[in-house]
């Protein structure tokens, strides 16, 4: 059992957890992830480690409630426990002094872009961060991103905060302004990562994305997380999760990630119905 020592919402549906896992906290490097299983009936899902505190012996994960498991996780509070936390998994981010490095986080992807931005800064890069969200209330880690950036930008799709538009538009603007970009890291929804790859490709800017395919064991045993890199299958859990964005087959990744969509929707429906009934029972009890 892994105890949750702190849990708080950063934005609607996006929750930050600090979990007691001293050994993982000590060993993890930027870009690596853990696999968690909430309880005996749970599935195993990968979540990137956003941060760690070696003294406190904790790791931080940031979770967006999308499906049953993530929504169930986001109902957990400080003091609750998670049955299994395994890691650190995957290859650490390849960090060096590239020169000018851009770290782009889209939505909850910022949770992963952040630790890599920290590492890029520590390696001596001039760090530009682009922190994108649909609207102002969904922007996360604004202060954290700012604190490691030489230039920090926020973009919102609806223009309610910062630059009005997508992260790719901001990136294009920087390129058009004549900024020499040496390295781009993009983490977020698949369409966003693909769009970033399309922006940087003509300029030959080295671009890395962190992929999120479906996984089970996370150690290379099941092969479920295979992604096509330059047309060749690679296992995201052991060869990745970060890959050269210009070599990734994003369509195949998106296709494979929707394999169980119907099942996920069914599970979510049942879960929400269950929560609704529980709430009703609780209310009835309180009325009594």
């Amino acid at each position: 059992m892994f105890k949750i020592v702190d849990a708080r919402f950063l934005a609607e549906n996006i929750k930050k957890f600090e979990i007691e896992a001293p050994r993982i906290a000590k060993k993890r490097k930027a870009g690596q992830f853990v696999i968690i299983r909430i309880d005996e009936y749970g599935e195993r899902i990968p979540l990137t480690i956003a941060d760690s505190n070696v003294e406190k012996g904790t790791i931080t994960i940031i979770v967006q409630g999308v499906g049953k498991t993530t929504k169930e996780l986001n109902m957990k509070e400080a003091g609750d426990s998670i049955l299994d936390v395994v890691g650190p998994l995957g290859q650490p981010s390849h960090i060096e002094n590239f020169g000018t490095a851009v770290s782009i986080g889209g939505g909850v992807g910022t949770a992963i872009a952040y630790p890599t931005a920290v590492a890029l800064k520590e390696a001596g890069n001039y760090v530009i961060t682009i922190n994108g969200a649909r609207s102002k209330d969904l922007v996360i880690l604004e202060d954290e991103m700012k604190s490691v950036s030489d230039e920090a930008y926020i973009t919102t799709d609806d223009g309610s905060y910062g630059f009005h538009g997508f992260v790719t538009q901001k990136l294009q603007q920087l390129i058009d302004e004549g900024k020499k970009l040496d390295f781009v890291l993009a983490i977020g929804p698949i369409p966003m990562m693909k769009a970033v790859a399309d922006v940087t490709r003509p300029y030959g800017i080295k671009t890395v994305v962190s992929l999120n395919p479906i996984m089970i064991d996370g150690t290379g045993m099941c092969g479920g997380c295979r992604v096509l890199i330059n047309g060749k299958p690679k296992f995201a859990c052991v060869d990745g999760p970060e890959f050269d964005a210009h070599a990734v087959d994003f369509k195949n990744l998106a296709d494979r990630n929707r394999t169980y969509r119907e099942y996920e929707q069914e599970a979510l429906k049942r879960f929400e119905e269950h929560c609704r009934l529980e709430k009703q029972i609780k209310e009835m009890k309180e009325e009594k």
Binding site: Y41, V86, G87, C222, V227, V238, K251, D255, R256, T259
Partner: protein, 475 residues
């Protein structure tokens, strides 16, 4: 023992295993083989000639004293029989179920020269089950602690047997497992209908009672490197029994389509994650009701996958194998069971490409007919494609079960451990010593995908060598 003459013994026909009806069992996950009754076991034991030179023992990779344990069964001393087996084999309930007896002990049985061999596997299984059901499982004697610590990496058959022997000798043994459940391939790979998980749990509980410590969710190579196990955690020796956990794919077009699984993923979803109980359990597996499912391969894993597909409702479940039945590596019993349950065998057939629809779902497979040429390095006749014999079949799900390579995780973080061209760990075959001082290895990580009993034998061999190394300090 009843006083039968050898001639009379030879006249007794082999007692078949009692099995669930094929039509019924192909729809459930309960164990297929139901086991002998005490009466059947004693009658089968009477078929043993008690040869002065028991060749069966030579046929067993761990040299179980087969003649002696069968003699005890014939006398009705079932607990005595299981004790005799356990002198050489830590996991009889498991080996009695999954060993390929037909090419080991039973192949060497003298009775087989005149008819069918004594059902050694069924008898082993019977006494192990008898002991478990009697509630009188004997916890082996454990020597006083010698204060030395051994780390076992992997809780599969190699690790468990190594842990047991070392614990009995007085070592402080910790088994590290990457997954959330203990048992390795015994729990994620082999299905419930062939090896009920309760049996694996009982064996592991036995080790816990002896004092073996287990730590799940711990990936060696990541959470602890091998050097950290020695330097920070104070272990005196390390045994690597991490198995062959990296699935091979065919390398053909379309293998990344939706609906294409490795056998490992398919079986792990069902066995470990209990996806057949979705949505009670959260992990899903594609609903196979009314679907066509192809499994590529001819080993035990392929049989496990195809029979699992049937149980998940597949309309047609095919084994597609490039050689003929004779060359199939699967146990004879698994092939027999698969056929009885309605699995369709397409032999001398190989996939050429997997064909998808616009949305990336598998819809068909293109296959080619094969013929057998000269024997290759494996001694089996090499399959050669027959040009122009290509044809396609509609298919909803394909499962690739062509074997596993060694998982490179530990070797990557411990480059001093020498590996072969096939990425298996190189060891001294007598001592299981690797090229790194204090580190031993055994099981599939050394041999490549093999059997439970060979892995167990390797674990025991390593345990003896670890004991010697720690006691003498000589590498």
């Amino acid at each position: 023992m009843s006083k039968l003459t050898p001639k009379e013994r030879l006249k007794i026909p082999r007692h078949p295993m009692i099995e669930q009806d094929p039509m019924e069992r192909s729809h459930n996950f309960n164990e297929v083989n139901l086991g002998y009754t005490a009466q059947l076991a004693m009658a089968e034991a009477d078929r043993c000639l008690q040869c002065p030179k028991p060749t069966c023992v030579e046929g067993c990779p761990v040299h179980i004293q087969i003649k002696d344990f069968i003699g005890l069964i014939a006398e009705g001393d079932f607990l005595g029989a299981v004790k005799k087996i356990k002198e050489d084999n830590a996991l009889p309930a498991i080996c009695g179920r999954v060993c390929p007896q037909e090419e080991q002990c039973e192949e060497s049985c003298v009775v087989a020269k005149r008819g069918e061999p004594v059902a050694i596997g069924h008898l082993e299984r019977f006494v192990a089950d008898y002991e478990r059901n009697s509630g009188k499982i004997e916890i082996p004697e454990v020597k006083k602690s010698n204060g030395k610590k051994v780390a076992i990496v992997g809780s599969g058959p190699a690790g468990l047997s190594c842990a047991k022997d070392l614990c009995a000798k007085g070592y402080d043994v910790t088994v590290f497992e990457a997954l959330h459940e203990l048992g390795g391939v015994l729990v994620y790979g082999i299905p419930e209908f062939r090896l009920p998980k309760d049996i694996v749990r009982t064996e592991i509980d036995g080790l816990k009672k002896m004092g073996v410590k287990f730590q799940t969710d711990t990936i060696i190579g990541r959470l602890y490197t091998i050097d950290e196990l020695f330097e920070e955690e104070g272990f005196d020796a390390v045994f690597l029994g991490v198995g062959a956990g990296l699935p091979w794919f065919l390398g053909i077009e379309g293998e990344n389509l939706d609906g294409v699984y490795s056998a490992n993923e398919f079986l792990t979803r069902v066995n470990l994650m209990k996806a057949y109980k979705f949505p009670e359990y959260d992990s899903p597996i594609l609903d196979l009701h009314g679907k066509n499912v192809a499994v590529f391969g001819g080993g035990n894993t392929a049989m496990d996958a195809v029979r699992t597909a049937l149980r998940l409702g597949a309309k047609n479940a095919y084994i597609i194998y490039r050689r003929s039945e004779k060359e199939m590596p699967a146990r004879v019993e698994e092939v027999k069971h698969a056929k009885e349950e309605g699995v369709q065998f397409m032999l001398l057939t190989n996939p050429v490409r997997l064909i998808g629809d616009d949305e990336g779902w598998l819809k068909a497979v293109e296959l080619i007919k094969m013929e057998l040429g000269e024997p290759d390095a494996s001694g089996r006749r090499r399959p050669i494609p027959i040009e122009g014999s290509n044809f396609t079949m509609d298919m909803d799900v394909a499962i690739v079960a062509i074997g596993n390579g060694p998982n490179p995780l530990i070797m990557k973080t411990t480059p001093e451990i020498e590996v072969s061209k096939r990425n298996t760990i190189v060891v001294d075959p007598e001592t299981m010593k690797t090229s790194k001082k204090g580190v031993f290895a055994g099981g599939d990580i050394v041999t490549g995908g093999a059997t439970v009993i060979l892995a167990m034998g390797a674990g025991r061999k390593a345990a003896a060598a670890i004991d010697e190394y720690i006691q003498t300090g000589k590498w």
